[in-house]
Symmetry: C2
Subunit: 326 residues, 2 copies
């Protein structure tokens, strides 16, 4: 065994578990992919997770020193306890002691974090943050919902109980569409993949969106991606939807920039790939609504790491944990 | 000289300069009050400030060890440079190197900070934060405008260039009233003393607000305080104004709570004294719009320190500066 260190990281997704061994020299040295057997219950999922962690720990411990184990989990996740709180896509997991259960099973300390936070950490340490020399950023992940993570001076900002970074619930259109959080007009209901689909359905129901109606007829399960393709092909209704995505993101980013004055804001997730469609409206709102933006011109751009951000961030957790404390 | 330390703090206000010597044992041991001679130019103001600092430094240095000099200044203030950037109430000061000028004049290091940030620091170390054992908070100061400061783990969060904490420009009513920042519908245009006056003027101009019209006739220079008195006496129009103040604050706080997940949010400044009038609407919006609030129930309440917060915070700057770096 030499003194080089490795970590084991878990990307706990709703569909797949990805478990990897990581070294600072070589990055991801081995990745195990498993289905997330949510329907078979918590014990099955945790058992799969721990089995894979154990295999990687056994395989790399003879060569490297284990720095720790990190897990990126769907939220809301209460910290430092590592307890799930009413996770919307994991029925039956409310109150589950994810961290404690993993630690008892593995017999060692485990760092557990919200998935949006670990993705932001990876983007800071290995992605756009590294490229620009920025050790603070806010990352918005535009997926089915809108997640976010805040990194301040190289460390995840968790808040008092792990629930910081809920930028998906920033106020955008005060009397707007009802959100799953109980509020109205949140960023998530205007800038997520689900929001794009909802806006398309509304336009189709309005009866004046022939391109979207034809899309729905061809493919009733169409997604934000197909709406983007239609917009790229010049469909006015589809373009209007992405313009509203951009305006909403610009309004939300203006609040973030005014509050946090960070050097870098990155957008990841599937919807971010429609950057050309929504970014003009985004920057128009941002310039209009944030004098801090106009004075400081922080970088606002697409994330670099793509789908690996969550897994890389989980692997980085033990390596960046010096000051995380608990 | 014993080993007890003292600091000198300056509250650089638009009307008055307050300069004080402070010890951890006795608090403010001596305060000098001077008018801020803005009309006589920057040299006059800086000269007054440095003269008073020098007098207090000379007087207390034989007994105590000087920890440093702190100044709370109107913003926007670029940090770490300590340079003013287009300060709205200090014409001719744009680009002024406040920190450098003070350091050259005094021949020593000076810590300069935004006034809303030092008030938040004082509230954390000596006010509500101390009372509740919270080392992180966000303080909104509801004065002529709306300022804010964020304290994270005992330290001011300045952002990349000193402009963090501009909560006065959080998005509240997206297509609302134009704000001095260039945007629309910011918190500041619904929750400041100037906003209360503007809303009263609008109601008077509408012709259906007899109580407010009578107030304006009695006292054309009436302020937010007189509107609050009218509301306390039962005037429906005045009550409606403070209800909108409360709703706007609740919407803004919901965004803050969702993003930052802090244990404590405090409201200071003149408008905060109308707490009973606006807080029911504030909490209604906050509960509605922030599931993080509903899950974590952080404390949201009035600040403790009143008009001394800025001066105390300036004195605390050198004493809390361990990790501030520059």
């Amino acid at each position: 065994m030499n003194s080089a260190r490795f970590s084991v990281g878990v990307d706990f997704g709703r569909t797949n578990l990805r478990i990897a061994a990581y070294t600072q020299e070589s990055g991801l040295v081995e990745t195990i992919l498993l289905p997330t057997r949510v329907s078979e219950g918590r014990d099955a999922v945790v058992g799969d997770m721990c089995g894979a962690i154990q295999r990687l720990r056994d395989r790399y411990s003879p060569q490297f020193q284990l720095a720790g184990i990190g897990v990126g989990s769907p939220g809301p996740l209460e910290l430092p306890a590592g307890r799930l709180r009413q996770p919307p896509n994991l029925p039956g997991w409310d109150g589950f002691e994810l961290r404690g259960t993993l630690e008892r099973t593995l017999g060692t300390r485990v760092l557990v974090e919200n998935d949006a936070n670990v993705a932001a950490l990876a983007e800071c340490v290995l992605g756009k943050g590294k490229k620009l020399g920025a050790d603070s950023l806010c990352m918005l992940t535009l997926g089915t919902g809108v997640g976010a993570g805040i990194i301040l001076r190289g460390q995840i900002w968790d808040g008092m109980s792990g629930m910081a970074g809920e930028a998906g619930h920033l106020n955008i259109w005060t009397d707007g569409v009802a959100c799953g959080c109980g509020g109205h007009g949140c960023l998530e209901v205007y800038a997520s993949a689900a929001a794009v689909r909802r806006m398309a359905d509304e336009k189709i129901a309005g009866g004046n969106a022939p391109g979207l109606a034809a899309l729905a007829k061809r493919n009733p399960h169409f997604s934000a991606r197909e709406v983007a393709e239609l917009a790229q092909a010049g469909d006015t209704d589809a373009k209007t939807i992405y313009e509203l995505v951009g305006r909403s993101l610009g309004i939300g980013l203006a609040s973030l920039v005014n509050m946090l004055n960070l050097p870098l804001y990155v957008l990841g997730g599937g919807v971010a790939s429609a950057w050309e469609l929504f970014s003009p409206a985004l920057f128009e709102e941002l310039r209009h609504r944030s004098y801090v933006y106009r004075l400081t011109i922080p970088e606002v751009s697409r994330a670099e790491l793509g789908a690996d951000a969550g897994l890389l961030g989980a692997c980085l957790l033990p390596l960046c944990a010096a000051e995380l404390g608990s």
